[in-house]
């Protein structure tokens, strides 16, 4: 099927071709006949050999041979006769592999034979066959798979196989299969803490040396670069789970009301928390890697306030068997309390066996923070949505001098504990950066890309106080490389744009000085003070570092190139979101927004919803196709109302989970579809403003 030329070099000899075809047809018919009639004579078996010699892909013939073998071998008692019978089968495999070294049927037949364990394995013959085949094609993955099977079967220690990979790499640095096998063996040896492989640091230092040698010898070879990326990931992943952000943060003061005079005089000292009106307090915890096991005993709450019985922690990010970076709970205030009283709440996460990271470490970085809640019993009932919320277009936002949004430093609960391990990581990374800076990078995208990744890994280690200046410097250098890469490797432009977007978010939000320019407290007339962040027109493709935005109540991401809102689920305080004029291409892509409990205003106008028949988030969201939702349950109501479920299933799932007051959706292909507007208004009974018009 592969690699045959379209026009043959010489004219076909019709007669010979016919004869060849007839011979094959007869063989196939006869072998099938013998198979169905369970004829296992020497002659019959011989025919199957002839067939497999010509066509090793005739899988039924391999099945037939297994049956014939089983039938005949059970009559034998002499070990020599048995060995000879096995030998015959092994030879058939070898002949078949000569015809097609990638025949699944041939390789499996051999594996099956060895697994019968009828006769001792001729180690030399087996490894000899592999050596021969891997010399002809060092990338034959069937061969490598068989080699891994054989090594395990024969009890060959991983260290020995490691030497074999070194030999193959020594022959030719460009041997992805050998590098891959090396990564597997090393991982096993490290996990088992085999002799000589107890120290991760020692092993990875040596591997860095090895791969750097390969890369300097031949920078154009890809396999080294992929291996290097693996090593980099090993040295940059967090050693243990840590809390990196929370909402409310330490020292925050939440209030369900506000005093107008204080707003006017710039002396606001608390955050207006809308959920307090419903006596609900969300707490959001953000970790440096996905964890699970948050419950009433692993996260302790101390307060004079009584919260409802079952405190249930919910994973907000896409869960991975229950692991998530971001967790939230919604405390229900149960007791009666006097008006204008402040209550403190202390949240403590102690060392815990319950909380465990995806990489298997238990939580052992005790942390605690305290915030206060001010309950006001007189209900200042302000209809926030008396008029549609307008998005301010002006550059200079109304900013309240003294009253700043929560200082960013407080968002980071734990200061990065500089441990020995981290120092080693940082040293390794700096070494690599110096080395790669020396390589000429004008034509090699891999040099630039690797440098950018190394710089970003270093940036990630600079997380507080004065080291933030260094962080921004690393980001800037990485951004430079990413811009170059867009020109050097235009077919991967979008990949570099996504990286660039993430680095830009980091640079922008990592310290308050830069970030301040995008933040303000906004008050609309007759409204409440809301924390506002403006990120319009920055060519962002995605939202990164959401853990720094958990206090944001109004977010303007309009006029960017955003195609994904993953991360926004952490913004539990978000009331209004503007993602108009972006590249959102489906409702499924907006699923993270359905986790934001109090989202009321959403501007989706001028995106690409409904313009794409292929939905790239179809399997990332929860749907009946991935068995995350029962179709009958979810759509029962909709089918009763005669909504076209096959056409609008994604819109149905999205809108019914939101309690929006205001929605803008014009400028999307879907908005002009028949009945769509009726659908939306049916699904969102709370909707008051739709594309600027009042809904009645």
């Amino acid at each position: 099927m592969h690699g045959r030329p379209r026009r043959l070099a010489k004219p076909v000899d019709e007669e010979a071709a016919s004869a060849k075809a007839a011979k094959l047809r007869d063989l196939q018919v006869q072998v099938l006949q013998n198979h169905h009639s369970r004829t296992y004579t020497k002659e019959a078996i011989g025919l199957s050999f002839k067939l497999l010699e010509i066509n090793p892909e005739a899988y039924t013939a391999w099945n037939y041979r297994k049956l014939a073998f089983q039938h005949n071998v059970k009559e034998l008692s002499d070990p020599e006769a048995i060995r000879s019978a096995v030998d015959d089968e092994l030879r058939v495999v070898e002949v078949a592999l000569r015809q097609n070294p990638k025949s699944y049927g041939a390789w499996y037949h051999r594996k099956w034979l060895l697994n019968q364990k009828l006769t001792p394995v001729d180690s030399e013959r087996e490894f000899g066959l592999l050596d021969k085949l891997l010399k002809v094609d060092a990338r034959n993955f069937h061969g490598w798979n068989y080699r891994r099977f054989l090594a395990r079967f024969m009890g060959v220690p991983d260290e020995e196989e490691l030497k074999y990979t070194m030999d193959k790499i020594g022959d030719n640095f460009s041997n992805y299969s050998a590098w891959h096998n090396r990564s597997i063996l090393l991982s096993n040896l490290l996990i088992q803490q085999s002799k000589g492989f107890e120290s991760k640091q020692k092993v990875f230092s040596e591997e860095f040396e090895l791969v750097t040698q390969a890369l300097f010898t031949d920078p154009s070879d890809q396999s080294g670069w992929f291996y290097h990326l693996w090593l980099l990931a090993q040295t940059s992943t967090p050693d243990k789970p840590q809390l990196i952000a929370s909402w409310p943060c330490n020292g925050a003061k939440l209030s369900s009301s506000f005093i107008k005079e204080k707003v006017d005089q710039n002396t606001l000292s608390s955050i207006w928390c809308h959920s307090l009106k419903e006596r609900t307090v969300p707490i959001v915890l953000y970790f440096n890697e996905p964890v699970k096991g948050l419950n009433q005993s692993s996260v302790k709450l101390k307060s004079y306030l009584e919260f409802g019985k079952d405190i249930h922690w919910r994973a907000l990010s896409m869960t991975d068997s229950g692991y998530s970076n971001c967790w939230a709970t919604y405390l229900q205030i149960a007791n009666e309390c006097s008006s204008s009283q402040q209550y403190s709440v202390e949240v403590s996460i102690l060392c815990s066996e319950d909380i465990v990271s995806r990489s298997g470490s238990n939580y052992d970085s005790p942390v605690h923070f305290t915030f206060t809640i001010e309950l006001i019993s007189d209900s200042q009932d302000i209809d926030l949505f008396d008029k549609p919320v307008a998005w301010s277009c002006s550059e200079s936002l109304q900013s309240y001098g003294n009253c700043e949004p929560i200082p960013f430093d407080l968002l980071t609960i734990t200061s990065a504990l500089i441990e020995e391990e981290s120092n080693w990581h940082f040293e390794r990374l700096s070494e690599q950066i110096d080395l790669f800076r020396e390589l000429p990078d004008d034509n090699s995208k891999f040099v630039k890309l690797t440098l950018a990744r190394l710089l970003l890994a270093c940036a990630a280690m600079k997380s507080c106080g004065r080291s933030l200046i260094e962080r921004k410097r690393y980001c800037d250098e990485a951004l430079g490389h990413l811009s170059d890469l867009i020109h050097l490797d235009p077919s991967h432009k979008q990949y570099y744009e996504d990286e660039r977007s993430s680095v830009l978010m980091d640079k922008l939000t990592c310290d308050m000085e830069t970030f301040m320019k995008h933040c303000s407290v906004q008050v609309q007339p007759n409204s409440v003070p809301l924390n506002h962040v403006q990120l319009r027109g920055l060519s962002l493709t995605c939202v990164g570092f959401a853990e720094r935005l958990m206090w944001v109540q109004v977010l303007d991401l309009s006029h960017n190139s955003v195609r994904s809102v993953e991360g926004l689920e952490a913004l539990q305080q978000l009331v209004s979101l503007n993602i108009s004029n972006n590249q959102i291409s489906s409702f499924t892509a907006l699923e993270p927004l359905t986790k934001i409990m109090f989202l009321k205003v959403l501007d989706l106008s001028f995106n690409e919803i409904g313009a794409h028949p292929i939905d790239t988030t179809r399997y990332i969201c929860s749907s009946p196709f991935s068995h995350k939702i029962e179709a009958c349950e979810a759509f029962e109501q909709c089918q009763k109302k005669n909504f076209n479920v096959e056409e609008y299933w994604d819109a149905l799932l999205f809108f019914k989970s939101l309690k929006l007051k205001q929605l803008d959706i014009e400028g999307n292909a879907i908005a002009s579809k028949e009945n769509f507007r009726t659908l939306v208004m049916e699904l969102i009974p709370s909707l008051k403003w739709f594309d600027g018009e009042c809904v009645n």
Partner: protein, 317 residues
Amino acid sequence: MAEEAELAADQHVRYIVTVEKKKDSFESLVMEHIRLNGAYWGLTTLDLLHKLHAVEAAEVVDWIMSCYHPESGGFGGNVGHDPHVLYTLSAVQVLCLFDRLDVLDVEKVADYVAGLQNEDGSFSGDIWGEVDTRFSYIALCTLSLLHRLHKIDVQKAVDFVVSCKNLDGGFGAMPGGESHAGQIFCCVGALAITGSLHHIDRDRLGWWLCERQCKDGGLNGRPEKLADVCYSWWVLSSLIMIDRVHWIDKKNLTKFILNCQDKENGGISDRPDNAVDIYHTYFGVAGLSLMEYPGVKPMDPAYALPLDVVNRIFLRK
């Protein structure tokens, strides 16, 4: 001035309809045992080009059932060939195209597939015990289309697939197996169908996959290999399922696929100017479908069937 390449849809339809009849050449005989796969490739392509009606549905369904083994519940690759999950999935998929799942003894077929799950969650291809993540995908896809996933231990099936995840973010045929675009499609598809895509590091895998795009615009299956039209499906569908397809250059890939056409006789080959076959014709058209090429029906990247077929199966009451 270079001519803008176009999809020669009519020629491809004619090619598919005629090649189906040619059974006696050596090339056809050598593939005789996978005729049922060929039926899936050819018929799905016809449906993608809005020409499924070019064949007689009843005839096709009858022939499919002649490959059925009532004792085991599985399908063979052709009449008289042993049952195997590879052909069982193709049979179920073709019956889905024609909305004729009613001809099946669904419980029997589902039991055949479910019975091949092993202790560690993996699946064997048939009674002889070969294990491969291809079979995990096939089992999950078949059982899902038949609404019988509950017959297996889904969590264990997922765990096995995840155990085949490699350090470059990709997946191999078995634990420790090298990453390969075909296996990656199977594993990503298996995780998609079971709502388990969060096990994947989408950025890392996405980058490995987008690096499959070669200078000629085509996609290869793993590093340092030549581009081949069939990877337009394996790589592209994987990228779509993990929402990273914007990382490749669609225009150049489209050009590559269109250059692999035999515009006179119909059919698409693995590389420009090579011999065409049904397999590459299907993957070329399927790749164009995933890139929203005009005139081609959109496909579901996980179930490898037209979108309207999959929506019908899961959303209709």
